[in-house]
Symmetry: C2
Subunit: 413 residues, 2 copies
Amino acid sequence: MASSARGGPPLLRQINSAHVLAALRGTGPLSLSDLAARTGLSRPTIGQVVEQLRASGLLAYVEPGQDGLVRSGRPARLVRFRSEAAYVVGIDVGRHKIHVTVADLAGQVVARRPRPVSAANSSQDLLAALRLAAKEALAEARIARTDVASVAVGTPGLVDLPSGAVTLAPGLPGWKIELARELRRSFHCPVQVENDCNLGALAERRRGLARDAHTVVFIHWGMRVGAGVLIGDNLHRGAANAAGEIGFLSLDSGTTAAPDDLGRGPFERMVGAEAIIAAGRAAAGRHGGLLADLLAAAPDRLDAEAVFAAAAKGDTAGAEAVRTIAARFARGLAPVLLVLDPDLVIIGAGVSRAGSVLLAAIQDSVTPLTLVPPRLELSRLGDEAVTLGAVELALADAERRLLPAPVLPAEVQ
Amino acid sequence: MASSARGGPPLLRQINSAHVLAALRGTGPLSLSDLAARTGLSRPTIGQVVEQLRASGLLAYVEPGQDGLVRSGRPARLVRFRSEAAYVVGIDVGRHKIHVTVADLAGQVVARRPRPVSAANSSQDLLAALRLAAKEALAEARIARTDVASVAVGTPGLVDLPSGAVTLAPGLPGWKIELARELRRSFHCPVQVENDCNLGALAERRRGLARDAHTVVFIHWGMRVGAGVLIGDNLHRGAANAAGEIGFLSLDSGTTAAPDDLGRGPFERMVGAEAIIAAGRAAAGRHGGLLADLLAAAPDRLDAEAVFAAAAKGDTAGAEAVRTIAARFARGLAPVLLVLDPDLVIIGAGVSRAGSVLLAAIQDSVTPLTLVPPRLELSRLGDEAVTLGAVELALADAERRLLPAPVLPAEVQ
């Protein structure tokens, strides 16, 4: 009912700008006539809108010959979206590694910086490593801190969303920190903090396998196990931002959700990377084969990937270990399926490299435990899922603030 | 972009009508001046809108003196929403009973008809009982079939939403039927079919304990166990409308989701009404007391309610049975909490009458199994939850079609 909400000229200008930007961001450079045709706006209106957007730095003319096309006659002047007008930073804080990714306003990655943090043992150490990795990534991309329009960070554990504080992170002992506030001292732009599994789900929606799925469960499966749930276009975070914490499922009667000394929940202990290695060792002890040879040669080199690789080659011990882990994982996956009935379950993080041998074993084990056989996939985003999700979250914020959005009047009378 | 979407006079009239109706439905009768003040519309516009809505049967003038208020001077003419302009029917199909509720456009219940169906053993028997119960309810309310604007039915099992067919209902053997199509032969209006637990959640949102909660899990707990999940204003139905089927949780290693001969899932067998009775019997055998006395006097009278009542009176056997059942229930509830992190869990159906003794025992058992202690409540809607949810679903449909809605243009240019 407020008069500012009425469709007066300022709103109209904003809406027209949004249409022009949308047309340009979806394609390459366009001439003003093409823009008019695509948006349905008149040629004079297009001219005005383009001038306004050029003045605000979001559009630029393409110099003739620079669009890569060859034309006869006088070339029409083309205009393009300046995706370099600002940048966003996506960060993934893990127990052993920090990933920093810088992307432009088109979401194009311009720098990636993984940084090991095995030495980190306090919030301050981790934060210092994070600041350093971010600094290096920006230097690599030759981008000034002032060109960063928005930052998003993925972290294990529970996040207090309004403040961006990490409130509980059993998987990262000591990591309890006013993270957004700390990072706002480094970046002079909005900083969002989000659970890393949620960001994985977001990355799958925008850049991965979940573009067309309505209800998506992204399961981070590595040392730790957790899930991000995306329903339609919304992350399902839960009342305390604790949705998807399936690493703390206590499936066996008598167990509880309490983390062990390493901060691992009961389901993480059952199926996490260390459990996969233990299952491989045990099976190698019984059957010999590839895994036994590997253990004899270099005991430390038996990792989860080696177990999956052995199974893929038909190794008996490898196959047995995969079946064991798949059967345990299915017991934790089944409740997720019965509660949510998702369109798609994507397994991400380290185990996403396990290959079809694991996927088939899980499908076999979980089908009898549920009413509707699920659609399961392995993520193809590898280690990048969380940072790419963070980039998407930061982009959404930057777009809200920098780009005119086609705001509809909230109330028309 | 279509010209029909623009804010021309027909759209404006529709929006104005919606404002007038909303003002009248939220309050009692109003004078035209009050309506003008509440909607911000001019007095002449109000006059036009009221005449249009009167012509379509949705508004009526209140005769002087009939509004229950005493005034001095010439009374202003008052106008009221005609909630009797149409009616909706909500139906709950259960194994032992069919409930039919008739309500007016204000959601006021005008007739209720429960009908036992213990003899029903085929889809056709159940359908015949359903038709009869609906007929009786309409007769009781003195409403013609042609005055019914919308019907909604709650059923156990999985529903194919577009067609309204029941595709899988292990809890109601033989119940696999094109239900919406069958009922459209009785009612000449839209018929929706929905999972009964989902309707319970909807009823709690509109008329029960969940008015202010964002993520709500309604757990139907009686002979059968299932959950309805409401996230914001949307039912979360899942990819195959199979979300919330927690009765089929197979918590113990080696069990599967397969139903038994009675169609019960493994979690239903662990905690359903019959399991509560069995736990009461077993505890009475060990400890004697109230339940043993009851069993000695009339073995058939030991039902779940008697077990809870004994526990509430401090009976040792009753208390032990409640602890046993609560501990089992907590094992199935914990995954729901870890996956969804709901604001509120409401226990409905028969067990909703258990009282605080059960609720406290569940809270004790489930807290160690989750990261965030949940908010648990017992439904106060009793047997009416599903029919009232069906009424709400039917009302939403009737409103969409009968009442003008303040439609905003889908796209403004």
